[in-house]
């Protein structure tokens, strides 16, 4: 090490640091590897996508309650409270569709491709059933999104959630095609993990949307 620190142009004082303008590198053997491999970058990426998307739903639900708090009657006169009966059934269907996904993910971690295909297919059908229900529910509504703020927030929140279900189904399709082509094994199935996480998110959000927009509307 030199005694003159060129960055300051005077002798190196105790406690000061100096590093040469052209660093010297020496090869050394690598450190010992980690015991566990951990999740892939893709997995963490989708986890963060979910974080930020949750904030969108949070903002919408907060807006719902804000609008509700500032209005005299909720839902406004002339609009019936949301229908719960079919809502319950299909909520159970949607949230239940997480179970076959869990099952499929555990299966592929053990290399069982058949179970993976089956699990993905079952959840896909359940998700599709839910989407058809939402479509039908929208058809039956007696109000349009332009009628008032209640109608607007209802359409937009439920509609945005349906779009997420749709996106989830599309990801499921890609994953299923990959599964049928036999691209996954016990070691390589990042796509399955990504889809699985996303699907649980879509299901989880519905719990909040359903309890806010459907259940809580019946509480006075």
């Amino acid at each position: 090490m030199t005694t003159t620190d060129p960055a300051v142009g005077r002798p190196e004082a105790p406690g000061l640091v100096y590093s040469p303008p052209v660093p010297l590198l020496v090869p050394v053997p690598p450190p010992p590897p980690a015991k566990r491999r951990g999740y892939s970058t893709g997995f963490w990426g989708i986890a963060l996508v979910i974080t930020t998307e949750s904030m969108i739903f949070l903002a919408l639900l907060a807006s719902y309650f804000f609008l509700r708090a500032t209005s005299h009657q909720w839902p406004p006169p002339g609009i019936e409270k949301p229908d719960l009966q079919t809502g319950w059934i299909f909520s159970v269907v949607l949230i239940g569709s997480s179970i076959p996904v869990l099952w499929a993910e555990v299966a592929i971690a053990r290399g069982k491709v058949g179970q993976l295909r089956a699990g993905l297919m079952i959840s896909f059908l359940m998700g599709t059933a839910f989407l058809l229900y939402t479509y039908d529910d929208f058809q039956k509504l007696h109000f349009g999104w332009k009628d008032n703020a209640y109608a607007s927030i209802f359409y937009v929140t439920v509609g945005l959630h349906s779009l997420h279900v749709l996106a989830g189904l599309l990801i499921s399709l890609v994953t299923q095609v990959k599964a049928w082509l036999g691209l996954f094994d016990a070691e390589h199935h990042v796509s399955v993990q990504i889809f699985s996480l996303y699907w649980h998110f879509v299901d989880g959000v519905w719990i909040f949307v359903f309890s806010s927009l459907f259940l809580s509307a019946h509480i006075r």
């Binding site: 590093s19 590198l25 970058t41 904030m55 807006s63 796509s191």
Partner: protein
């Protein structure tokens, strides 16, 4: 300063020249982009993307600065005739919007893109293609916003576009649609970037770089990214609901139909205030990195500063209502938000004292970057004080919407963010271009900017006290505002000249500047361990980190050799040859796996164009265009999903 008249040096890994040369050619073949214009659209290299980010956002900085100068020309004298009321509205809206969305945020993302992977000792970002995607989205959204000028329909609702002024009853044209859609558009870019920074930081650090050894700048980018993830979706929601109101006739912000204008303000400021800190935090990260280098001493109170950064991140989400003190929010709520606004000064104060202590105990060398840092400290002190003043309720009621507020946020945004950015340019451009900037011109630039800045923005405080409201396009003479306004306008011009000097310096350095050595400032972080400019693969062999200041404490710097095994194979030169980078564990940074870096591809560009076409479709209300955009985007996305995660 340690520059000499030697040809650009390379870092000797192995002293054997001939073998060195051959390996370099192989590496070039593996890492280089396809030549020409095609390669331009295909690149996924974080350094190229980072530099493009920085250059593009500076173009927007100069455009928005020009808009400001025209505004100041208008206001230089009473009854000015340069701009009419409508153009003035458009100008301040575009100026504010550009500075926040198209300059400050992206320029910080650009520095992050360039520096973060090198500071943590890896070969690229975790999602190189997403990185390119977020850049293209940023460029296209900027072009989109500015095309409004071409059609004579620039947004005119102020940079926060409050309803009901901005709903379709009171702002009929497409002006505000340009604004709303551009905000959503840039939001995508910022969010994607933030996700990328976080995963990169937590999964790709060089072995041995525990969280405790993370450079402070990387910490600041982590806080930045988390704040973006929680704040930006909310402004996207605000702008999205506004656009739904405007384009599809929903009633969110229309009181006559049960909507609420206050809701828009809540949503907007829930993002808006953290946004100020989103900009400020990476700027302080740069300061915390640069000051120790020129104080020749390690940063005082590393742990304290990290804690302060994280605290700022949290508290900043609890202060949004202070922008709305004058709107009739319940008084208990207001007291809470006022208190929170005061508390946030504590972490900022901690940082401030840590910087002072670092310089106090060190031997300060006044280079140009350091001058900018000291200028920053002075300006930040004033901006902080005026910030404390406006967080006190009765004071806020007096000065709200006056020039005092304009002065305050320019001290914070233009002073406390732009000065560190200029310092960072002088500090890191040699690394990026391989050429040193002129110190002399740099000093001139700093002093011109510093004097111009204070001349321009300090008198605004007084103008505020004298009752001059913001956003007025002209004023009558004889109110006692004339001289001060003239000073402000002259100051703005001087400030602008100062920035111009740096621009000239930049172009001068490209051909005339001295060649930069790998570590011209004798700095401590890993980006200085590689050549200036760095090769496409950053590090042929990944450094083994054992200290918070690797280049200061580890001489010579150990770099890993490859060994068979998960992660280990990517560490050495063989890993670079295979276009891979090691994947390490989140906390302790132990090698865990090998990550393959994707090849250059058109996908990001295609997908960004798809999004842009959708946005244009929404703007002109054309379903067909929207569907076309969906189709382009869909094809790109499908192809992408197909290739994700090696199945």
């Amino acid at each position: 300063m340690a520059t000499t008249e030697v040809p650009p040096p390379s870092v000797p890994v192995h002293p054997d020249d001939a073998a060195d040369h051959e390996r370099h050619e192989q590496l070039e073949a593996v890492w280089g982009d396809p030549p020409g214009i095609l390669g331009f659209f295909k690149t996924v290299d974080h350094k190229r993307i980072g530099i493009r980010y920085i250059y593009t956002s500076f173009i927007f900085f100069f455009i928005a600065g020009l808009l400001a100068l025209v505004m100041r020309a208008q206001l230089a004298q009473p009854n000015g005739t340069v701009l009419g009321p409508q153009s003035y509205n458009e100008f301040f809206t575009m100026h504010g919007t550009t500075m926040i969305f198209l300059f400050n945020t992206p320029v910080l993302a650009g520095f992050g893109n360039y520096l973060l992977p090198m500071q943590i000792g890896t070969r690229d970002m975790a999602f190189p293609r997403l990185n390119a995607f977020s850049f293209w989205i940023f460029v296209l959204s900027g072009i989109f916003l500015y095309s409004s000028f071409v059609f004579g329909k620039a947004p005119d609702g102020g940079w926060f576009a409050y309803t009901p002024l901005t709903d379709r009853v009171y702002s009929g044209g497409v002006n505000l649609d340009f604004w709303g859609l551009a905000v959503i558009f840039t939001g995508i870019s910022t969010t994607v970037g933030a996700i990328n920074f976080l995963v990169t930081t937590f999964k790709l650090r060089a072995p041995g770089m525990t969280l405790n050894r993370l450079p402070i700048y990387v910490w600041s980018m982590v806080v930045f990214s988390f704040m973006v993830l929680f704040a930006v979706p909310v402004v996207t929601t605000a702008a999205g609901l506004l656009e739904l109101d405007r384009l599809f006739g929903t009633q969110f912000f229309v009181p006559a139909h049960g909507g609420s204008t206050l809701l828009y303000q809540h949503l907007f400021w829930f993002w808006g205030h953290p946004e100020v800190y989103i900009l400020f935090v990476p700027a302080t990260g740069m300061v915390s990195l640069i000051i120790p280098v020129f104080a020749r001493r390690a940063l005082a109170g590393y742990i304290w500063i990290v804690t302060a950064l994280v605290a700022v991140g949290f508290i900043s989400f609890g202060v949004w209502v202070h922008h709305m003190f004058a709107t009739g929010v319940p008084s208990l709520a207001m007291s809470f938000f006022s208190a929170a606004s005061l508390i946030i000064t504590i972490p900022s104060g901690i940082q401030f004292f840590a910087w002072i202590a670092t310089m106090w105990r060190g031997v300060v060398k006044l280079t140009t970057p350091m001058l900018f840092m000291i200028g920053f400290l002075l300006i930040f002190l004033l901006g902080g004080i005026s910030g404390v003043m406006v967080s006190v309720l009765p004071f806020d009621w007096q000065v709200t919407d006056s020039y005092f507020v304009v002065a305050h946020f320019h001290y914070v945004l233009n002073g406390a963010v732009v000065f560190p950015i200029f310092g960072a340019l002088y500090f890191w451009l040699p690394k990026m271009t391989g050429r040193m900037l002129s110190e002399r011109l740099g000093r001139w630039s700093f002093w011109t900017m510093f004097i111009g800045f204070n001349l321009a923005f300090f008198p605004m405080h007084i103008l505020g006290f004298l009752g001059m409201p913001r956003r007025i396009y002209t004023y009558p003479g004889g109110l006692g505002w004339d001289t001060l306004n003239l000073i402000v306008s002259i100051g703005s011009l001087v400030f602008a000249l100062g920035t111009l000097l740096t621009l000239i310096n930049f172009f001068w350095s490209r051909t005339r500047g001295e060649h930069a050595l790998p570590n011209p400032w004798s700095a401590d972080t890993l980006e200085w361990a590689t050549t200036s400019p760095p090769p496409d693969w950053n590090f042929e062999a990944i450094p083994l980190v054992e200290s918070r200041h690797p280049l200061w404490d580890q001489q010579p710097l150990p770099v890993c050799a490859s060994e068979p095994g998960p992660g280990l194979e990517a560490l050495g030169p063989e890993g670079a040859l295979a276009r891979t980078t090691p994947f390490t564990t989140g906390l302790r940074a132990e090698p865990a796996d090998t990550m393959h870096i994707p090849e250059a591809t058109y996908l990001p560009f295609i997908l960004a164009v798809g999004v842009a076409v959708i946005i244009v479709g929404l703007l002109i209300d054309a379903v067909l265009v929207g569907v076309l955009g969906l189709a382009i985007g869909g094809v790109g996305l499908l192809r992408w999903a197909w290739r994700t995660g090696e199945h």
